[in-house]
């Protein structure tokens, strides 16, 4: 395959020789050392690996929150690794839903506003955004928290709201970093049920997890070790 030629098969996401180095005062940390992965449309892929293997960094770079040091990232057949901050913002608005490891909800907006904001930003009407928000909060058992400020929620509740926010605008690709990280088993079940449902509706999901039960819901599992892909295998 030649360097920058588009992939022959249409895929949701494709990375080639992705490298990410962090530099701080003479220290150089290679978080990703040449990662090649692919995600088909509507595919659910789990990324596993020990701490420090570069899982979160991979999501950051794919989501445009960190710039790759070298390598290529292709989203929906379009090369995105060299986009400006502005164009990345528009990409995220339309095509990417992101769930952070720490929920990162907007502190001055209620839960409802937090969930609706990405939808409004992507172009739906306020009424549609509200309907979508009610639907998602209901699925996650958070309807009674709609008017509450994020600072009053528990870590698990914040995480679920973050997931709802990430799905509110029907993104092409959901990037989720440990979405069940601090949930109890009951809430984990609810989250998995929602993920399975959206996956069934055609949502492409790239999810980082430690939990094998969560990974077992995926179509494929990629193992990262020391910034490189160690394993890439699918379930049945």
């Amino acid at each position: 395959m030649t360097g920058s030629a588009p992939a022959p098969v249409p895929v949701m996401l494709r990375t080639r020789k992705l490298v990410k180095e962090y530099r701080a005062d003479g220290l150089c940390v290679e978080a990703l050392r040449g990662v090649d992965i692919e995600l088909a449309f509507g595919e659910f892929v789990a990324v596993m690996g020990p701490s420090g293997s570069g899982k979160s960094t991979l999501l950051h770079v794919i989501g445009g929150l960190a710039a790759a040091t070298s390598g290529e990232v292709w989203l929906r057949g379009q090369r995105v690794d060299a986009l400006s901050k502005r164009d990345w913002a528009i990409q995220r608005r339309r095509h990417i839903g992101y769930v952070f490891q720490t929920a990162n909800l907007l502190s001055t907006m209620t839960v409802a506003d937090n969930v609706e904001l990405p939808a409004i930003l992507s172009g739906v009407s306020a009424r549609q955004a509200r309907q979508r928000r009610e639907e998602l909060l209901d699925d996650l058992g958070l309807t009674d928290k709609a008017r509450v400020a994020p600072s009053r929620l528990s870590g698990g509740e914040q995480q679920r709201v973050a997931l709802a926010r990430a799905l509110a605008h029907h993104p092409s690709l959901l990037l989720a970093d440990e979405p069940t990280g601090n949930l109890d088993s009951g809430n984990t079940r609810d989250v998995l049920r929602l993920l399975r449902r959206t996956h069934a509706e055609g949502q492409a999901i790239l999810l980082v997890t430690h939990d094998a039960r969560v990974a077992s819901n995926a179509d494929r599992v990629i193992n990262l070790y020391d910034g490189m892909v160690a394993d890439d295998w699918s379930f049945g």
């Binding site: 962090y22 701080a24 005062d25 003479g26 220290l27 596993m48 690996g49 020990p50 701490s51 950051h60 989501g63 929150l65 960190a66 901050k85 502005r86 913002a89 528009i90 995220r92 608005r93 339309r94 992101y98 952070f100 490891q101 720490t102 990162n104 909800l105 907007l106 502190s107 001055t108 907006m109 209620t110 506003d113 609706e116 904001l117 990405p118 409004i120 930003l121 992507s122 172009g123 739906v124 009407s125 306020a126 549609q128 400020a149 600072s151 870590g155 698990g156 995480q159 926010r165 029907h170 990280g181 601090n182 430690h210 939990d211 094998a212 039960r213 193992n223 160690a230 394993d231 295998w233």
Partner: protein
């Protein structure tokens, strides 16, 4: 997927702005209040400056003044005035007569003006003491009269006193002063002479029995108060009364513009000092607004970064913040303008009761609009920079704050080694690691402190004028002018008076400058062997008949320096003097040349003393001494009290108090926002610090020390800068006004120590309060990492 995203970006922006304003409404209200306060203070200061240096505007508005004041001979037909084009209103005519006011040995020419007890619609005098005329103030009943206030102050006449008025033909009337009032129809006494007294018509007739010796004065209001239009109206008046057969009955015409120009303050020092404060206030105000705005943005850095992650472009993030802050800025401007507008409507005058009345002069609408626009612009600019930077930061920044070398710095290690308290060492690190926020905090405290120091220096200097008048050549509190007896008899009497420490004979001459471009005052004060106790700021005192000292103003006029020789013609006699010294003299704006009385004799001029300057013994009150002298001499002496420029500058003390209060509020606001930002940024460490073994007290102490160290440094730097700059600024003002370089007096060490102590206490208290409150709120700690539930299965 609907693709109206471009149209919906503003929708999302507004959503966020609205939510943010509501969520932080207390801070928003505080921000608006601070900015509004700054705007209002600036506008009030400008209005005060305008009203002080030009009191005419305020007086004109309050007295419903006349645009044109006409004086006609007795019996003129005034009906013609109604028909003149451009005239909207004709006032009630008043009869006037000339007379003389007698007070002991003093005689002053006055003008009696007959007015009715009812307040006239135009040119209604503004009563500032006592009351206006009443029907009962007729000659049969004590002959009440109202004196023009500046005249009364100059003549030391107060409400309740009885004075004698003598007409041109010798008819006398004893009048009782029932009130003092100001008018906008003429300049203050003694710029405008003669002094003005308002009486009932009956009283005037008692003094001036011949009607044809009286005149009529009447005021006009015009439709267009511009200079051209008024000029045309004046021309119309002349035309209407023009006759070819006899002299025009129009005796005199005065316009409001002439009075305005005349009333404008001649006191250059006051104008300059107020101007200095204006600039200081402007800088401090703009800085405060910028700081409050920028801090508001900095506090929500994390949320701003998240907006980017959600899909707001950096440009949209800046837009969102601009919209939010500009809304606050507009609200604040409106509020500030409203406060200033209300203040104009209050009738209060500020300033010493004897001095020139100071009112807040309204600023023209374009200036108010400019103030509002500048405020909003400052808010916008102060928003854009931090917003742009915050918008470009990713919410997953790899490293938040990097210590300079990645390990415990040398200083910190030494600090811990010598067992400095741990909170102290930890708290101090911000100054090294977060350099930009630390620098901003320091500057935010330093600038107000520097300006407060400058303000305190001005205050101390003014106090110095009053407490040590010798510094500005006012060692002699009283001046005695000879009465009817020969001057030698007076001197013998004065030498015996126990209140008097020394007396110096003197004479004063208005002299033309060489080149005849202006005049200055040449004064013989004391003799060469026993000169008047001038305080020489530069050079030496004169001790020979051809030496003299000069004021800064004169040196500037002549472009001379100490050591130059000057040739002047004093009282018709040419004289040459060696300028051996420079004094700080407020008289005549520093345009003075002082030498010994014997110099006059040496040069062949008359050397009779015109007056004696009396230096009182310490502790003796000048006005009491004056009364005593008058009594003892049987009212044969004229005794005047020396006018201290500090009296006229009394309004400046009011301005200084306002300025210090405003600067203190600004400094406090800067402090609070900087503290909030600092504490917010460090809150996540509180848990970590507790975990490594710091007690809750020590954790709070770390947060507090953080701010207090920066504040202390900022206060010290600001005060030092202020102390360095203040004498230069104040002396420069003094030099420019003609008073001279060297007037500045620094605040005492105690005052400065108190200032610093107060600042530090307030800063620590504020930090303590905020730290306690933040520590109590639930901490949004990161969710703890679960250990691996199942081991990783590897291929």
């Amino acid at each position: 997927m609907p693709t109206r995203s471009w149209a919906n970006a503003p929708h999302a922006t507004l959503r966020w702005v609205r939510a943010d304003l509501l969520a932080r409404r207390v801070q928003a209200i505080l921000t608006v209040a601070v900015v509004a306060g700054v705007v209002a203070a600036l506008l009030l200061a400008a209005m005060l400056l305008e009203g002080t240096t030009n009191p005419w505007q305020g007086l004109f508005a309050r007295t419903h003044g006349a645009d044109v004041m006409l004086r006609f001979g007795y019996g003129t037909d005034l009906a013609k005035l109604d028909a003149l084009p451009g005239v909207t209103k004709v006032g009630t005519p008043s009869t006037i007569a000339s007379a003389t006011l007698e007070q002991g040995a003093t005689e002053s020419p006055v003008e009696l003006r007959a007015m009715r007890p009812t307040e006239p619609a135009m040119s209604a005098p503004l009563v500032t003491a006592g009351r206006w005329l009443r029907a009962g103030d007729s000659p049969a009943d004590a002959s009440g009269a109202v004196l023009e206030a500046s005249f009364a102050a100059a003549e030391h006449v107060g409400v309740g006193m009885r004075v004698k008025v003598v007409g041109v033909d010798g008819n006398t009337a004893t009048i009782t002063v029932v009130g003092l009032a100001y008018t906008s129809d003429q300049d203050f006494y003694p710029q405008a002479t003669p002094g003005l007294i308002w009486v009932l018509p009956a009283t005037l007739q008692q003094v001036e029995k011949i009607p044809s010796e009286t005149e009529e004065v009447v005021g006009l209001r015009v439709a267009d108060p511009s200079a051209n239009a008024i000029g045309q109206v004046v021309q119309e008046v002349y035309n209407a009364y023009h006759t070819t057969t006899e002299a025009s009955p129009v005796e005199q015409v005065a316009t409001s513009q002439q009075v305005d120009a005349s009333m404008a303050s001649n006191d250059r020092l006051l104008g300059l000092l107020l101007g200095l404060f204006g600039i200081i206030a402007l800088i401090a105000a703009l800085y405060a607004i910028a700081n409050v705005t920028a801090s508001r943005v900095l506090v929500q850095r994390r949320d701003i970064a998240m907006l980017g992650a959600l899909g707001f472009t950096p440009g949209q993030v800046v837009w969102a913040l601009l919209v939010e802050q500009t809304a606050l800025g507009v609200a604040a401007s409106a509020l500030g303008l409203a406060v200033a507008w209300t203040a104009i409507r209050t009738p209060a005058f500020i300033g010493p009761p004897d001095g020139v009345p100071v009112a807040l002069a309204p600023l023209p609408a374009p200036w108010m609009a400019l103030a509002a626009a500048v405020t909003v612009a400052t808010v916008a600019v102060a928003t854009v920079v931090p917003a742009w930077r915050a918008g470009r930061v990713s919410p997953v920044a790899a490293v938040a704050f990097t210590p300079p070398r990645g390990r415990l710095s040398r200083l910190a290690r030494i600090g811990l080694l010598v067992r400095l308290p741990v909170p102290l060492v930890l708290g101090a690190r911000d100054a090294f690691t977060r350099r930009l926020p630390a620098a901003l905090t320091i500057v935010g405290v330093a600038i107000p402190m520097a300006m407060i120091t400058i303000a305190m220096t001005c205050w101390t200097t003014l106090d110095g004028f009053t407490s040590d008048p010798g510094r500005i050549d006012l060692a002699a509190a009283l001046t005695v002018y000879p009465g009817s007896e020969s001057i030698h008899a007076e001197q013998a009497q004065l030498a015996r008076d126990p209140q008097i420490a020394a007396d110096y004979p003197g004479a004063e001459f208005d002299t033309l400058l060489p080149g005849a471009t202006a005049t200055f005052t040449a004064r013989a004060m004391g003799t060469s062997t026993s000169p008047y106790p001038f305080d020489v700021a530069q050079g030496a005192m004169f001790d020979s008949y051809n030496e003299a000292v000069a004021g800064q103003g004169l040196l500037d006029l002549l472009h001379y320096h100490v050591g130059d020789w000057v040739e002047v013609t004093v009282d018709g006699v040419p004289m040459i003097f060696d300028i051996v010294g420079r004094t700080l003299d407020p008289a005549n704006n520093g345009d003075v040349l002082d030498f010994g009385l014997d110099a006059l004799a040496f040069n062949g001029a008359a050397d009779q003393p015109q007056f004696y300057s009396l230096v009182l013994k310490p502790g003796i009150d000048p006005s009491a001494a004056r009364q005593q002298l008058l009594r003892m001499s049987g009212d044969r002496l004229q005794v005047q009290q020396a006018a201290n420029p500090a009296d006229g500058l009394g309004v400046l003390k009011v301005v200084i108090i306002i300025a210090i209060a405003a600067l203190a509020i600004i400094g406090l606001a800067n402090l609070l926002t900087a503290t909030a930002v600092g504490i917010g940024d460090h809150l996540h460490e509180a848990g970590v610090l507790a975990a490594i073994g710091l007690t809750p007290r020590q954790v709070t102490a770390t947060l507090v020390v953080n701010t207090t160290i920066l504040t202390a440094f900022g206060a010290a730097v600001g005060t030092a800068a202020g102390l360095a700059v203040a004498p230069l600024l104040v002396n420069a003002q003094g030099q420019a006004s003609g008073l001279g370089w060297g007037i500045a007096m620094m605040p005492s060490v105690g005052t400065i120590a108190a200032m610093l102590a107060i600042t530090l206490t307030v800063a620590t208290a504020a930090a303590l309060l905020l730290a306690r409150r933040s520590a109590r709120a639930p901490e949004p700690l990161a969710p703890p990492r679960r250990p691996l539930a199942t081991p990783r299965s590897s291929a």
